[in-house]
Symmetry: none
C-alpha cells in the first residue's frame, strides 16, 4: 500500500493525469527515502555545465557515465538526473533500476555571458524513449533571456504532462539585474520558487537561501510581516511557503563541495526542519571516492528520514 | 540490484529502446513474483467481452472498478490489465501502485460473429496519459478478419515501442476456419504464439494447449519429430519453444472459472514446469469473494516462485 | 574497387537515388558470392506462413531466431530475410554482419482462404530502425485480393526508394483463378515476374517454372514464337527475359525440402544456366542440421560462382 | 564474424537502435583499419569552409569531386565526409564503395564573424537518399551562437538516430570568449569533447590538444589532480577520458598541411598511444599529389593498426 | 537522338532523379543553342530588384510581361527567368513555348541594407503550377544574412529535386565583409561558385570575374599555384574549375547595359573560351528596342555556338 504521505503529496497535483501522478509516485517511492515524502536526487550535469576536469578530475572514475548510475542506485537515491548523453550511455544497461530525469537544457562556460540562455539539448520524445520518469529544465530568473527560457520551459512542461511525465525545474536566479549576493537572497530564492511553481513545475530545485534581501520592495514586505529568517530552517520555511504554501515539492541544491561534511549535514537538517522536501546532491557526492560518497548520502538520507537527528 | 534472470530476459529485447526495457522491467520487478522472471497478471476485460452480469453478478463488489485495482495490488500481481474505462476509473487513485496494461481493443458478444474483429478502444496516447507500462492487443488468428487485426496490432506495437512502452498480445485462435477443439489445439496455440512474436510482441498470452492437433500438415510434422505432448508441461514447452525458442515471454490464460482450485493449481504447475512465464488470471480470481481470490492468487504465486511444489 | 558486373547491374536502376543503389550494392557485395552478380539469400518466414512445428520441429535449434542470423552469416549468404519479430530478435546482436531484408507482409494458414491477402506486418520506418538494406513484399497475382496487394506493394516500394532502401518482391501466383499446376506454369511465372518489375521491384523472387502453360492466349503466343521451354534453363531464360529482358534481378525460390540434394543442385544449375541471378533458400537449408545446411549452401554457391559445374 | 573490439565499441551505444548500430559497424568494418576499432576518415569540406583556390589550387585534380571519392576508396579509409554538393557529385557513381558522412552544416569565410554560426546545408533525408552511414555536424563551443548550434545539432542527431543513422560531431571551440591559443587548450578541447558527447554524438572530432590551459578554474582542477599533459599522448588520454571515460569514439583532425610528414606521423602516434580512435585527415592528404597522399595515408593506417611503431 | 554533349552534362548529375534530369535536358535542348551544351537565358527580375522606371522606362514595351516571353521565345533563348508575378502574367499564354525558371527570392532597393537578405517570393508548388523547368534562388555570400539564405536555398533545392525540377543559383557576393571591388574578385567569384555547387545547385550564375584578389589567404594560394588570371578566359576557367572541376553548369551575368556591343561580345568570347557555359542576359537585351535586342542575342548565340569567332 502506498504511504499516506505520498498520497497527500500527489493530491496537490490533482490537475495532472494519472500518468504524471504515476511518475511522481515513482520518484517518491524509490530508494531509501521511499514513502517518506522526502527526496535525495543525484544530478550530474556538471560535465556540460562546468567542463569535465573541473567536475571529474578529483575522482576519475566519475568520468564514466556508468559510475553515476551505479552510485545513485547503490546509494538508494530517489532518482538520477543528467543530460542526454550521460543518460543514453547507461539507460539500457540500468533499465528499470532507478527513476531517471532527463535534463532538457544545458549551458556551458566556454562562452559565459552575463545573461545566460541554456541550449535545449533534449526532448520529451527522448525522455520517453529513454524511460525517464521526469524531465528537468533550468530557468535563470533575472537573466535578460529569462522570457525565452520561461516559454521553452512551459512548452516542455506542457508536452511532458500530456505524455504522462513529471517536470522538475531548476530555478536559479542569475543575470545582469541581480547581484552575486542576490542570487541566494531569501526574497530572490522565494521568488524563483514561485515562478517555477507558476510555470507548472511539479518539483522545484532552488539554492539554500541566505538572509540577504535583494529587492527593496521585498525587504519592506518581509520586514513589515516579520518573516523569520535568522536560521536556515526559517528561510527554507519561507521559500517552501512561497511555493504554493508547501503544496509543491521544493528541494535544495547541495552546491559546491563543502570543506566539512558536518556543515553539509547541518544544512540538510535546516532544510528538513524548515519543511524542505530534500536535496539534490551532485558535487558533494561524486567528487569524492565512492565509499565516502555512499557514506555521506546514507547520512543525509538518515537525516531526512528522521532516523538521525 | 536487478536480478540476473530479469537482465537475461531483457537481453532478448535488445532491439528495443531503454524506455521499453524500463517498462518491461517494471512488469518483471513488481509484486510478489518480482525478480523471478515469472508473472501473474490480473486482467479484467470481461465486462466488455462477456457483459456485466456474466462477469460480476456472482461477486457484486467486482462491478466497481476500484475493486480490481485493489485486488491486483493486494494480491501482489505483476500488473493489472483492463480496457480504457476501467483504467480511467482508478488510474489516478491508485497511481504508482501497480503497473497497468491498457487493453487496446475489445469485442462484445451482443453481436457475436463467427469471424470476430475487435474494435480499437484505446490508444498509445491513452496509455501514456494513464501511466501504463504496456499496451495490450487481442488478435484472433483463424478469423477472416485476422489480417485487419494483425495490421492494427503491428501499428500499435510500433507506436508503443517508439514511446517507450511494452506490448502484450492476446493471441486467441478463433474463427470459421478453426474447430472449437482446434482453438486450444497444441499446433494452433503454438502457431498463435509464433504469430504474436513475429508481430513484435514482448509478452504473449495464449490459452493452455490440449493434445489435440488441428492441422493435418502440423500433425505430420509434430508426429515425425516426436514432439512430446502428453502432459501440459510438455505442451507448454512446445508453445514456449514456438515463441522464439523461449526468448519471448509467454503467459497463459486461466480461462473460465474452474470447479476445483486444485485443478487450477495443477494447471499452473504444468505451465511452470513446461517453462511458461506465468498466468493471467481473471475470472478464477474476481468471480469469487475477495479473501478467496487473495488466497488463490497467493497459492498460484507460490507455485510459480517455487516456494510450493 | 567494385566489380564490373555489380556496376553493370546497378546501371539498370539509374532512376533510383544513390541510397537505394548503395543498398542494392550491399546485397551484391556481401558473402561468398560478393561481386559475382549472383545471390543466395536465406529467408525465414515459414514460422509465420506455415506455423512453427511444420517449419522447425525437424531441426529444433531453428526455433531460435539467432540460429538463422548465424546460419546466414556463416554460410556467406548475401542477405537474410525475415518478418519483424525474427529480425528484432537479432538485429542488435548481429548488427553490421549481414544485409537484412524486412519481410513487410505475411500470411498464415490458420485461415487459409482461396484468394489470400497477406497482412502488412512491418513498415519502412521499421526497416530503417533495424538497419535493413531492403524491404520485401509478397504479392499473389491471381488472387481476387491482388489489387489491394499491388497497391500496398507500390506504396511501400515508393517509400522505400525515397528513404534509400531496395525493394524485393515475392511474386507468387495463387488464387481462385489459377489452377494448382498453373501456379508454376511458365507463362504465369513469367507474367508474375513482369508484374513485380512493373510495380518497381529491384529484386524479384519467383518459383522455378514448369513447362505447363496455363493461359490459352499465352500458349498461342509462346508456341507461335517457338519459345524454348524443354529444360529448366530454357524456362528460366524466358522468365528472366520477361523481367525487362534481364535488366531486373530475378531469383528463384528453393521451395519445399527436396528429397535429394542432387535434385536441388540440378535445379540451381538450371537457374544459373538460364541466366537466373540466384536462389532464395529457406526450408532446404534450415530444415536440416546446421553442418548439412552449410554444406548444401556452400555447394549451391559454388554452382552459382561457376567454381562447380 | 565481427571482431571483438568492434562489438565492444558497439556495446557503448546500447540506447541506439540496430539501424544506428549497423551504420556505426559499417564505419568500423570498412577499409584497411576494418575491425581494429581505429578510424581514418577523409573529410573534404574545405572548398566551402576556406574557398576553392586555398583548398585545391596546390593539387588541381582535387577540384573534381570524383577525385576525393577515389582517394578515400583507394587509400582504404573508413569513410568519406563532405557537404551535400560534393556527395551528390559522386554518390551514384561510387555507390556502395565506401561509407559516406554527410556534413550537415557549413561555414564560409567570405563573412568571417568573430562568433561564427554555420548554415545548415543538408538534412537527414538527404543523407538517406544519398546512402550515407552517418551525418556530421559542426558546433563552435565558445561562440555566442553556440546555443543555436547545439539545438540544431541535437535535433539532427535525434532525427538521425530515429532513422538508423550514426552522428559525427565536429566540436571546434571558437568565438569571442576564447583566445586563439585557447582553441586547442587541453581543458577547452576536453570540454568540447564532453559537450559533443552530452549532445548524443556517436563519433566526436576534435583538434589535437596543446598543454595550454585556458580557463582558470579548469587550471586549478587539472593541476590539483596532477593530470599529466606533457606529451600529446597524455593530453589525448585526458580528452578521451573526458568523452565518457573512453566510451565514445574520439578522433582528431589533421589540421593544416604539415611541413614535414614525420611531424604528422609523430602526432598520429601520440593520438594512438593516448587511446585516440584515429584521425580525420583532409588537407594533409588531398593537398599533395595522389601517390604521395596514398603513401601518407598508408603510413598513418599502419601506425594506427600497430603494424608500424 | 540527344546530343552527346547533353548526355555528358546530364551524367554529372547522376544523384538526381529522372524528373530533374528531364528538366535539365529541357534547358539544354531548347532554342538556338539546343544541344550545344551552351545556354543563353533571359532573366527579368529588375522590376523588383531595381524598380520599374530604372528597368523599363528606356524601352516602354518592356513594362508588359508578355514582351519578355516573346523576346525570349523569338530570340531562341534556352529559358526565361522571372519572379512570380511576371511568370503568372504570361505562363498560360505562352505555355509550352519556352522553359521557364521561377526566381524564388527577390530583393528591392527601397530598403537597401549593407548586408542584404532577399525575400522568398515563390515556392516549388508555384513553379509546378506554372510549368517551370527550374527554380532560381539568389544567395549573397559575404552578407551577414548569408547563413539564412543558404538554409532557405538548400531547402528549396531539396524540394525542387524531390519534385523533379532543376535548381539555378544566382551567387552574388555582397555585404559588409566584402569591398565593392571584391564582389567580382576572381577568388570571391570562384568561392561563390563553389558555395552554390556545394548547396546542390545544377546551374550556377556568377558575375564575370576581374583579376583582383580580395582575400589574403586566397592570394597566397593563387599566386603560389600560378593560377593564370590575365585574360577573362583565364579567370572564367578558374571559376568553372572551382565549380567541381567543370562538372556543374556555370553561366555568367551580362550585368548593366554595356556602352558598346563589341565589349559585350568580347566578354562572351572570354566566357566561351574559358569554358563557361553561357550567359544570362537581361538589361543588355530588354533595355533596347526589340529588333536590336534580337540582333544582339543572335550574335551572342553565334559566338557560343562557335558559328562566329
Amino acid at each position: 500500500m502506498m504511504e499516506k504521505r505520498v498520497r497527500e503529496i500527489l493530491s496537490w497535483y490533482a490537475s495532472d493525469n494519472p500518468g504524471t501522478l504515476t511518475n511522481l509516485a515513482r520518484l517518491l517511492t524509490h530508494g531509501k527515502l521511499a514513502g517518506t515524502g522526502r527526496l535525495v536526487i543525484l544530478p550530474v550535469d556538471q560535465g556540460f555545465e562546468h567542463g569535465p576536469a573541473r567536475s571529474f578530475a578529483v575522482n576519475p572514475p566519475a568520468y564514466d557515465p556508468s559510475y553515476h548510475f551505479r552510485l545513485a542506485i547503490d546509494a538508494g537515491c530517489n532518482a538520477y538526473a543528467a543530460p542526454l548523453g550521460f543518460l543514453e550511455a547507461g539507460a539500457a544497461e540500468f533499465a528499470g533500476e532507478i527513476p531517471l530525469i532527463l535534463k532538457m537544457n544545458n549551458h556551458d562556460v566556454l562562452h559565459d555571458e552575463k545573461d545566460p540562455l541554456s541550449a535545449v539539448t533534449g526532448s520529451v520524445r527522448d525522455a520517453l524513449r529513454l524511460g525517464c520518469a521526469a524531465v528537468g529544465f533550468t530557468i535563470y530568473p533575472g537573466s535578460s533571456a529569462a522570457q525565452t527560457m520561461y516559454q521553452q520551459c512551459r512548452e516542455m512542461i506542457a508536452e511532458a504532462k500530456a505524455n504522462g511525465l513529471a517536470a522538475v525545474v531548476w530555478s536559479y536566479p542569475r543575470g545582469s539585474s541581480i547581484s552575486k549576493e542576490g542570487e541566494t537572497a531569501i526574497d530572490v530564492v522565494a521568488y524563483a520558487a514561485q515562478i517555477a511553481a507558476q510555470l507548472g513545475a511539479h518539483v522545484i530545485k532552488v539554492k539554500p537561501p541566505t538572509d540577504h534581501i535583494e529587492q527593496p520592495e521585498a525587504k519592506k514586505a518581509i520586514e513589515k510581516a516579520n518573516v523569520p529568517r535568522s536560521t536556515l530552517a526559517d528561510r527554507v520555511r519561507h521559500v517552501v511557503q512561497s511555493a504554493f504554501d508547501g503544496r509543491r515539492i521544493v528541494i535544495f541544491s547541495g552546491g559546491a563541495t563543502k570543506e566539512n561534511d558536518e556543515t553539509f549535514y547541518e544544512e540538510c537538517r535546516g532544510i528538513r526542519d524548515g519543511g524542505g522536501f530534500g536535496s539534490i546532491i551532485g558535487r558533494n557526492s561524486f567528487q569524492r571516492p565512492r565509499d565516502k560518497a555512499l557514506a555521506l548520502l546514507s547520512t543525509v538520507m538518515k537525516i531526512y528520514s528522521g532516523e538521525m537527528k
